[in-house]
């Protein structure tokens, strides 16, 4: 299909000059990125661009760069005037905040639209994407001229596709107390603070038997022992071999711990009694 069409372009140069102009309308449908196409700013516009042969620079200037402003129904309409030869245009839709897919628009010398395809920037021009429109009821005759009754009055309507939305601004991290509390350092500090103040109170409110039980337990457990030693004012933690404990070397240090904790334990209890 594409191959046959591209062969049409080659021999279209001599095709009959038609009179009427055809129109290409691009509609912007509502999409997730742009729920209301009427919200697009008025500067949005679409352009059809191709090379202008400098031999006809002044005459073809309007034909090689066409611009269509945004209409109030969120469409762009091009009136395609007849040209001296068939053209293959790049259709760009420009809006400050949105990026649209580019299209390839092939136009015959009489101004009728031969086809509209998606195109990929930075790829060979022949590498066409999804076909949006193609003139089907046309057969090139022997001379390559197009036959078809009212060819030039075909008006084409395609839908634009939004690729992405441009973010112009950098997000600034806002100061919020919640974010402050998400900070692990702050959380650790708060937990430590909670232990410092909360633990003695908790211990006082326990009945004596449970307390004795708890103390007994804590004496056997190195962790709580360490915690308690830290809690009870950090008086002499020197005997606790933290490195050894963290390395998992249990048998030898446990003894040390027992000695040290018991020593401090008595201090703790006496304080509470007194």
């Amino acid at each position: 299909m594409f191959i046959s069409l591209s062969s049409i372009f080659a021999c279209l140069i001599l095709s009959v000059p038609a009179l009427a102009t055809s129109a290409l309308t691009i509609t912007i449908p509502p999409s997730n990125l742009l729920p209301n196409p009427n919200a697009l700013p008025a500067v949005s516009h679409a352009t059809l661009t191709t090379i202008s042969s400098s031999a006809f620079a002044s005459a073809s200037k309007t034909n090689s760069h066409l611009t269509a402003p945004l209409s109030r129904s969120a469409t762009f309409t091009f009136r395609l005037p007849p040209s001296t030869k068939p053209e293959s245009y790049l259709l760009d839709i420009r809006s400050p905040e949105f990026v649209f897919t580019p299209y390839r628009v092939d136009i015959a010398a009489d101004g009728s639209i031969l086809g509209v395809w998606e195109t990929f920037r930075g790829n060979p021009w022949d590498n066409r994407g999804v076909e949006k429109f193609v003139l089907t009821d046309v057969n090139p005759d022997v001379n390559g001229a197009l036959t078809g009754s009212d060819l030039s009055t075909v008006d084409v309507n395609i839908e634009a596709k939004i690729l992405t939305r441009r973010g112009f601004y950098e997000e600034r991290s806002k100061f919020s107390p919640l974010a402050l509390f998400k900070n692990p350092m702050i959380l650790i500090a708060l937990v430590a603070l909670g232990f410092t103040f909360g633990m003695p109170k908790l211990m006082e409110n326990m009945d004596p038997e449970m307390r004795a039980e708890f103390e007994k337990q804590s004496r056997t457990s190195p962790i709580s022992g360490a915690t308690r030693s830290a809690m009870s004012g950090g008086g002499a933690p020197g005997n606790f071999d933290l490195a050894g404990w963290m390395a998992g070397a249990t048998p030898r240090p446990t003894q040390d711990v027992e000695v040290s904790t018991s020593g401090r334990e008595s201090g703790g209890t006496t304080r509470r009694k007194g």
Partner: protein, 946 residues
Amino acid sequence: MWLQATLLLLASCVPSSLAIYFDEVNHVDYHHALLGFPSPQSTFFLKPSASSHGSLLYTLSENSLLGAVNPKGGFLLWRQNLSRTALPVDSNAHHLLRASEGTNALVSALGDYLSSWTALDGKLIWENWFVDETVADLELLELEDATASPSVKDTVALFGGKAAVVRRLDGDSGKTKWEHFDESGDIPFQISSSSTEVFYVSLQPSSRKGYRIKVTSLNPLNGRQTQQHVLNSESDVTSADSVLFVGANTAAPFIAWADQSRKALKVNVIGTKQVQTFDIENTSGESIRSITVHAPKKLESLTHFLVHYETESTTWAEVYHINLKSGSVSKAYDLPRLEGWSAFSTSNKDANVYFTRITQSETTVVSSASHGILGRWTHQAPPMEQALHSVSEVVSKGDTVAVRSAAVLASGDWQLIRNGQTEWTRYEALTGAQAAAWVEEDTQEDLVHQLQVEGHESLSGAYLHRVKRHARDLQHLPEWLKGLPKRILTSILTDEVSNLDGYGIVKPVLVAAENGRVYSLDAGNHGAVVWKVKAAEAESWNVKAILTQPGSATIYADDGSSVTLDASTGEILERSPATVKIRSVAVASDGTSPVTVGIQENGVPAEVVNGPGFFVTLSDDGSVLGWIASDNQRPAWQFRPAHGEKIIHATSRPSHDPVASIGKVLGNRSVLYKYLSPNLALITAVGENSVTFYLLDAISGRILHTSFHQGVDTTQPIASVISENWFAYSFWGDVIDPSDAKGYQLVISELYESSIPNDRGPLGSASNYSSIADLPLPHVISQAYIISEPISHMAVTQTRQGITVRQLLCTLPKANSIVGIPRPVLDARRPVGRDPTANEQEEGLFKYNPFLQFDGKWYLTHGRDVAGIKTVLSAPTMLESTTLIFAFGSDIFAIRATPSQAFDVLGKSFSKLQLVLTIVALSIGVAVLAPMVRRKQINTIWKATS
């Protein structure tokens, strides 16, 4: 689709912390969205739709920009450039804009192009153009029949061309409803309509001198001619300008003209044959310079009009009434003759018509029915600048009235005066900005001088001098101490720029406008105009350059004249007369101070400079010439492009272009040395559908590198720039070979001393080299990208030391933006077709992709619509991170950019308040906990030992 997605993903891999923060908008940047000089007949107040409360101010400017301005505040709501769809507009094309209250539609015409736009948001309703015809006049049909729905008004337009044509165009689609051809060869002049008829007014050349006015009545429904009559005006009307007024859309439209000696005013109510003549009572003794007729345009308004007479020094006006039944015109009253200028305007309130008169000292409002003054407001001092024309809106409440007028001043500014108070001023003359420069403040000048003195004295003398200087500085101490608390407080509470004044980031900018005026814009105050002066002696000038010295600035015009201004007040210090016509201005150095040399049209320097230096000039016959500064007779070398090519642009490295590192460190710690020559020139030459870029050595004229591209659209913008050891250019590349891509291309080329790392080429680390003998050629690496936008102008950001990453500043004329592409993205050594190796990753290189999608964060203009930019300037500040960018052309835009983030300034994200609060909280914590801990420790010691 997946391809595009990967591209976007890739683009987002780039360090994305370049964009500005939303809360910095209006702090780091400012923008004057301008329209240009408002056309007198196409400016008005209008209620955009029936439901809207207030009215907006609409204009079609002489720069072909159609826009809506909010009268409250004076900011632009929307605008459209009408020239973009039409061919280049010839200078005497009519700029026509018409609207009807409450229809939410404007109709404009320019050249052959007619378009209709929604009044609220500026979107297209319809457009239409008629090849080889130009629109001579345009009216909206205000019919009192039931066939037309009230919300849509059809347009009647008069076209000139081979034959005059009157067309009625549908208000919804712009399609022709009927056409009336006039092939008599008369000059199509104006069109007018009443509620029942369309009148086509043309000028019929009489057999002798002058023109007869021919009025043809047409049926508005089918365009058929109903009647025609000719008024005998050939003795008075010598050209179209002789007819003062053709009234539109009043209940009784009329034609007014004056005889050639301006002694009699003649009025014809259209549709009648009767011409009434009134004597003009001119008791001033001076000849009348101009006569203007002001009449209401609404159908329901009273049929009164005002004739405004102006002599060299005085103005007065007469008010006339038309009797609808008899069609007779009678003079009602006079408005007194006043010294100086006056600007009259008409406004309606229902049927009532008010005339507003603005003079340099006051605004007065009268009703058209009687001469009693309804409102009088004195303007504040100083006296107002001359207004050329104005539009007004009068609101009446009982006996009192309120008025607001938008006056166009002789300087091109647009001012809104509400009840005698100036509400806002739009500096529309800045649209034609031709050159701009940052002011160099002279505060450091004294210190530099003092240091020079110290350098030249003996050791002890210098020491004493320094001690004295510091002692003298102490006198500022009390003042400084006094300001300290305020400074600390403001720096905590706000993040205003004022704290950074000393770093040269709020330098004022001087802008030279086309109309001979120079403006100073205050960067610290949203670009407000500090002063403006008329520096040119003529009405307009063509400024080639503004060069600033500490405290002053010199402006060079193309006739070889120059004006020196005081940079802080705008006072004209010095003026030099015109000499020869110059093409550009070059700056050379004669050892101590910079010297300017005008370059003539043929590329020859106008004068000789003693001392070393050289110029590279473009001549009008399309060649590049190299000159030794001390010889302006014979060029040192001449460069001509290949046959059939024409040089369109030449550029060189910026005068301030510091290089932070002479090499590029690769991932494996080897170094690729940059080819750094201060004498590089990049020449752009176009052929037929091709472009060639020549890299020249400016001393010898030798070609160092050439790149040639085929299939280039030479009518599209081709931009180029060169800096450090790289150059970039952009053009529209079309398909030559089937495998080619079609689109705009951006090419980056980097110059290295050698292709081998750690190799410095034939010169090695020699400190001297000669451009003339054995200049080694650079090793050039290039990469091309497809981009989605044309680039009309390129510049490079400049910082003080060149350490900050450079940005390639590209002006995008189609997107109305300026984009700053970070140089690392445009690295010519990005790996092609494979993923980067670990070494390359370490260097920051990532995979090459042929399509370069501009990230939204690169847009320096962010959400603003910055239109018509022709030149972008960049200047360093005292802060390495910060560069100043100023863009002008049609709009004015300036921004303080930080290409590698503000690494040497505490930004807004650094909350000083938070820091203080944290310290306070910690101190309280320590104060509370310290005694507790101390007690506990003491307890532990005591109780453990007990």
